[in-house]
């Protein structure tokens, strides 16, 4: 590179003016050409890179300079060189040629250079710079060859060419441009942009100017279609494309040029097509005619908008031949179309079919399908045709046909008589029933008047409304009407007549419908006739009848009454006599008053009152009195008498029972409620209200779930659903409710079904016991117990570790310095330490009893346990001369912890022996039995006894002794009491000083 560089620098020095003109940054390459040996060329790195070569290998060798140049363009180079050589000062070497890029495409490069001379003044090399023109403004391109080619093309395709200076408004165009609008170039001179604009269609001018503006701003090409006026006056459609072709020295666009193309014909066709298409679509839409097309060559299917509407598919639906067929209702319809299509594919034909399709939304409808097949070279290439929704038309026609048929059928065969009556009240047509109903033929009746077959009474009565109908005042009429049959009998009917209007609202004729109700009517009449009689017979079936002989003033009784009253057969009481049978007071008063009313005003009565027979039997009876009153006077007074004692008494008793129950229910201490089978509250008592705080009314609107504590809801729902599902008859549950005031209430709830004699559920009875207090106590107890456990822990761990350390240390001291044992302090400390150990053990034991008992309770045979205990103190008893008597049933079991039971028994026995009286022979009696829910065990001795008045409060306290006995430690009873209580029992002591003591222990029975 160095030789080139040196030479080039020299050249730059010589030609600095030129070089400076170019500016450093426009250089794309440097080149060197040996004139004597053109193959000995050189390019710099930048130039090589521009041409797409890797610089390294090529740099070394010289190369054929001309090989880079497009062979067609070599001429230009030679020409430029010769021109330059001829006049180097005036004509610079400046040429644009195409160079081949390594990949094969051409780059337009501007070579500028100058000849260098050797020492002798002979030209020996040409060198210069290269500028890549494609990169810069295309306006700088003046490739003559290309231009010529363009001109050829332009001529060939009838392109109009134009150009213009934006700043000056000067413009130019070619002759084709002018010819397009019927002018010669000369006619348009002087050509300016104004001349051009004047020729543009006023409607298109705005858009044209707008797009030129856009072009100037965006530096792009522009394309626009517009109309220009032809010299002959018509409009020519022009397609125009343009671009900026030159910029002024400020870099602003200066020249715009482009081409014109006459598209009038195309435009006209387009418009025509659009117009026809629009017209077709519109008419098709109006007639609901869609078109379709199947192109067999691209296998594409086209459906128009209306076709899509008919098939009820969206715009995006892509139809295929298969999907088109799928829409056609399967079976006959589809098969026909398939066979037609197959046929049409064989030879050109046209078909027209009415078929049913099932649209995309599942609607079944009638369509008319028209199809044609199109053939090219004997090959079917296309199906196309029309589709029309004819469902509405088809349906209506179908319906009308059906209606007519229906009507004809019903008219002819209706059991109801039907006839058409003309405006002049003549029969037009009658059906079979109508004719049969009256016994005439249709022909006979056509010649008769309406009045001829009418019952005269009804004809008169309905004359007015019927004439109103005919005069148009009313449109229909319904009436009960009697006709006369041909045979003279009366025909009872329900008739209706209504006017039939045509479309314009005028009456065409009338329809008369007649229903024969003769039979029914006759039945009705006879029924009414008999009803009175029947009801009376029914009424008197089981009761006595009485009738007052108004004239004689006596009452005649039927034998049954006489029997009931205990009077002889011939007994005929006066009214006063009758009264004596009625219970005095309210009852008798009622009857007297009622009889008076019956006789004077004809008012009947019906009383249940007490009467007393002659035999002295007082019973409840029903007395009914009926007074036939004619013209304000009582003609007949009679009635019935019935013994209703049993029913009445039962009823009264029931009432009392119910009242009792009601009171119990109302005032029971437990909350009670009655729930229906859906679990809804029907009734509740006062306690329920008191417990839950809601009134009965409020509770009816609540369900028990609403007031149940959320945590108990699941449990309750489970049980309730079992109950409602008849899986169980009742349940008991301890659960919480929320009181109206928000408090939590613990309750024992029991719900049980009440059943009738068949075992069906009638309703539920709910019982609710407030156990909040108890629950609170249990809670407290639990908490207390927890504290005990904590305490136990402290005792068994913390305290113990200290005491055990002390005793260990004492042991060590004793061992190591035996002399210390003699020390009084040491002795005492040792005793204290041992005592402390014992105390802690006791404490721990008691705490353990209370906190752990529930897990170890089991059924224990009492007798066996007592015998074991007695056996283990046998020697002790023998020593003290005690006798022990056991009297316990061998089957008696208690619920206890074995170890506790043993310890309790031993405690009692050793205590008894320990505190025997020195004055008597010691005796212990052990008995047991059941008392309520408990089993009691009594250990009775005749020893020293305990002064209960003084000590009863402290008897079971820890470290309490009441005797100066050397072995009295005061722990035994304390532990006993704790153990017994932990097992759910209790201890009772009976004692008299110097008489003895009886320790009675209550255990829980094994079953409880």
């Amino acid at each position: 590179m160095s030789s080139l560089q040196i030479e080039f620098e020299e050249w730059i020095e010589n030609e600095s003016t030129f070089f400076n003109l170019m500016g450093q940054d426009v250089l794309d390459g440097l080149w060197f050409w040996d004139l004597k040996n053109p193959k000995n060329g050189l390019l710099n790195d930048a130039f090589w890179q521009l041409l797409g070569y890797d610089t390294a290998p090529l740099q070394q060798d010289s190369f054929d300079w001309f090989s880079l140049i497009d062979q067609e363009n070599l001429l230009f180079i030679i020409e430029a060189y010769n021109n330059h050589l001829a006049n180097p000062k005036q004509v610079p070497f400046d040429v644009e040629v195409a160079c081949r890029h390594r990949i094969g495409y051409s780059l337009i490069i501007n070579f500028r250079g100058a000849i260098a001379y050797d020492e002798l003044g002979n030209p020996n090399r040409l060198m210069g710079i290269a500028i890549h023109l494609d990169k810069y403004r295309k306006t700088k391109k003046q490739n003559a060859l290309k231009k010529d080619r363009y001109i050829d093309v332009i001529e060939g395709v009838k392109l109009g060419i134009w150009g213009g200076n934006i700043n000056t408004g000067e413009a130019f165009c070619n002759d084709i441009w002018a010819e397009m609008i019927g002018y010669s170039l000369a006619e348009l001179e002087p050509m300016t942009s104004q001349v051009f604009y004047n020729l543009v269609h006023p409607e298109d001018k705005e858009e044209l100017i707008l797009s030129i503006d856009k072009l100037l701003k965006n530096e792009g090409t522009y394309e626009v279609e517009f109309r220009m006026r032809h010299k002959k006056g018509h409009w020519v459609w022009i397609f125009c494309r343009g671009e900026i072709t030159a910029y002024d020295n400020q870099g602003k666009p200066e020249m715009v040029s482009g081409m014109h193309y006459d598209i009038t014909e195309k435009k006209a066709n387009e418009e025509l097509v659009l117009k026809y298409k629009d017209l077709l679509e519109r008419s098709n839409e109006a007639a609901k005619i869609g078109h379709w097309e199947i192109d067999l060559q691209n296998e594409s299917v086209l459906w128009s908008k209306v076709t899509r509407e008919i098939y009820e598919v969206s715009e995006d639906f892509i139809p295929t031949i298969e999907s088109g067929l799928q829409f056609i209702v399967e079976g006959e319809n589809r098969d026909r179309i398939v066979s037609l299509m197959e046929k049409a594919a064989q030879s050109p034909m046209e078909f027209k079919e009415q078929i049913q399709i099932k649209s995309n939304n599942g609607t079944v409808k009638w369509i008319r399908l028209i199809g044609l097949s199109e053939f090219t070279n004997g090959q079917c290439v296309r199906f196309y045709g029309l589709i029309q929704d004819v469902d509405v038309i088809e349906n209506i026609q179908l319906k009308i046909r059906l209606r007519e048929e229906e009507f004809r059928q019903s008219f002819n065969h209706s059991a109801m008589g039907m006839a058409f009556i003309s405006l002049t009240n003549r029969l037009l047509q009658a059906n079979t029933s109508f004719c049969e109903m009256f016994g005439y033929t249709e022909a006979e009746m056509k010649n008769m008047e309406f009045s001829d077959i009418s019952h005269p009474k009804d004809f008169e009565a309905n004359k007015e409304p019927i004439s109103e109908l005919f005069s148009g005042k009313r449109s229909n009429l319904r009436y009960d009407y009697r006709y006369i049959h041909k045979n003279g009998s009366v025909v009872w009917t329900n008739s209706s007549i209504s006017a039939i209007h045509n479309q314009d609202g005028e009456v065409m004729h009338y329809v008369l419908q007649v229903l024969d109700i003769t039979e029914r009517k006759l039945n009705e009449l006879s029924l009414q006739h008999n009803a009175d009689l029947i009801s009376r017979i029914n009424d008197v079936a089981n009761i006595g009848i009485w009738e007052m002989d108004l004239a004689a003033g006596i009452s005649n009784w039927s034998p049954m009454i006489k029997q009931m009253a205990g009077v002889p057969e011939n007994y005929s009481p006066t009214l006063e006599d009758v009264y004596t049978f009625i219970k005095k007071g309210k009852h008798r008063g009622t009857i007297k008053k009622s009889i008076k009313l019956a006789l004077e005003e004809g008012i009947g009565f019906n009383h249940i009152i007490q009467v007393t027979s002659n035999t002295g039997r007082t019973f409840w009876s029903r007395i009914i009195g009926i007074s036939d009153f004619v013209d304000g006077k009582c003609r007949r007074f009679y009635g019935f008498f019935q013994d209703v004692d049993k029913e009445t008494v039962a009823l009264n008793e029931l009432a009392i029972k119910e009242e009792e129950l009601r009171l119990t229910f109302e005032h029971a201490h437990t909350g009670m409620g009655i729930l229906d089978l859906n679990g809804k509250l029907q009734r509740s008592n006062i306690s329920m209200t008191a417990i839950l705080g809601y009134s009965e009314e409020e509770m009816r609107n609540l369900s028990f779930f609403d007031i149940t504590h959320p945590e108990d809801l699941k449990k309750t729902e489970e049980l309730m659903s079992q109950l409602l599902g008849r899986e169980r008859d009742s349940y008991k549950l301890e659960k919480r409710y929320i009181h109206k005031n928000g408090h939590v209430i613990w309750a024992n709830v029991s719900l049980s079904a009440v059943k009738n004699e068949k075992g069906d559920f009638l309703h539920f009875v709910s019982q609710l016991e407030d156990i909040t207090d108890k629950k609170q106590m249990t809670d407290n107890l639990t908490e207390h117990n927890n504290r005990l456990v904590n305490f136990a822990h402290i005792v068994s761990h913390n305290l113990r570790s200290h005491t055990s350390n002390i005793s260990m240390l004492l042991d060590l001291a004793e061992e190591e310095e035996s002399i210390i044992v003699e020390n009084e302090y040491f002795k005492n400390i040792k005793i204290v330490s041992e005592n402390m150990n014992d105390t802690i053990c006791h404490l721990n034991e008691i705490v353990e009893i209370n906190s752990k008992v529930s897990t170890t309770l089991s059924s224990q045979n009492l007798l066996e346990n007592v015998r074991m205990a007695v056996k283990s103190i046998e020697s002790l008893a023998k020593q003290s001369g005690s006798t022990i008597e056991i009297n316990i049933n061998k089957d008696l079991n208690v619920f206890a912890v074995h170890a506790y039971l043993e310890s309790i028994l031993l405690n009692y026995l050793t205590n008894a022996i320990k505190y025997k009286s020195p004055d008597r022979k010691h005796h212990i009696l052990i008995t047991a039995g059941i008392e309520g829910a408990y089993v009691y065990l009594s250990v009775k001795d005749n020893g020293m006894g305990i002064d209960l008045e003084r000590y009863s409060a402290k008897l079971f306290g820890m470290y309490k002794t009441f005797h100066n006995h050397p072995d009295a430690r005061g722990v035994g009873l304390f532990i006993c009491k704790n153990q017994v209580e932990a097992m759910g029992g209790k201890i009772v002591v009976e004692s008299e000083v110097d008489k003895g003591a009886n320790f009675i222990t209550y255990f829980r029975h094994e079953n409880n």
Binding site: H797, R800, S801, S804, N805, M808, L812
Partner: protein, 133 residues
């Protein structure tokens, strides 16, 4: 009976440790006694050892800070070396539940109630008599 080379006491009570050391030495049970004041220290120290220096007997207290006796038992039970040692729970607890629970562990040879005394040590010696460690 094999000679008891090494005894390990795990207990945080210095007075007890003092007394226990004294008693064990005096009664010729063992004189090589190491002490850890909590389960964690003991575990970390003992487990990595080889058989040679592994303690023969462990006296384990239950109530301790950091890692108490129960946790120690849980961890130690997982160790493969648990069979190499005789473990005694040595506690002042007289809670029957705790005594029972302690005995449910495989690794626990016995439960000894504090205080440690001459009699208890002799009893222990007798128990270990003839037993191969």
């Amino acid at each position: 009976m094999k000679i008891i080379r090494q005894v390990c006491i795990i207990d945080d009570d210095p007075i007890f440790v003092f007394g226990a050391k004294r008693m064990l030495t005096k009664n010729n049970f063992c004189s090589n006694i190491e002490v850890f004041t909590n389960g964690k220290d003991a575990l970390e120290n003992i487990l990595p050892r080889n058989d040679e220096s592994f303690p023969d007997i462990i006296f384990l207290d239950l109530n301790m800070p950091v890692m108490d006796g129960w946790e120690f038992l849980d961890e130690f039970s997982k160790s493969s070396k648990k069979c190499k040692v005789l473990l005694f729970v040595l506690s002042s607890s007289i809670d029957s539940v705790e005594v029972q629970t302690a005995k449910t562990y495989d690794v626990v040879f016995d439960f000894i109630e504090k205080p440690l005394s001459k009699d208890k040590i002799n009893l222990l010696k007798n128990k270990l008599e003839g037993r191969d460690l």
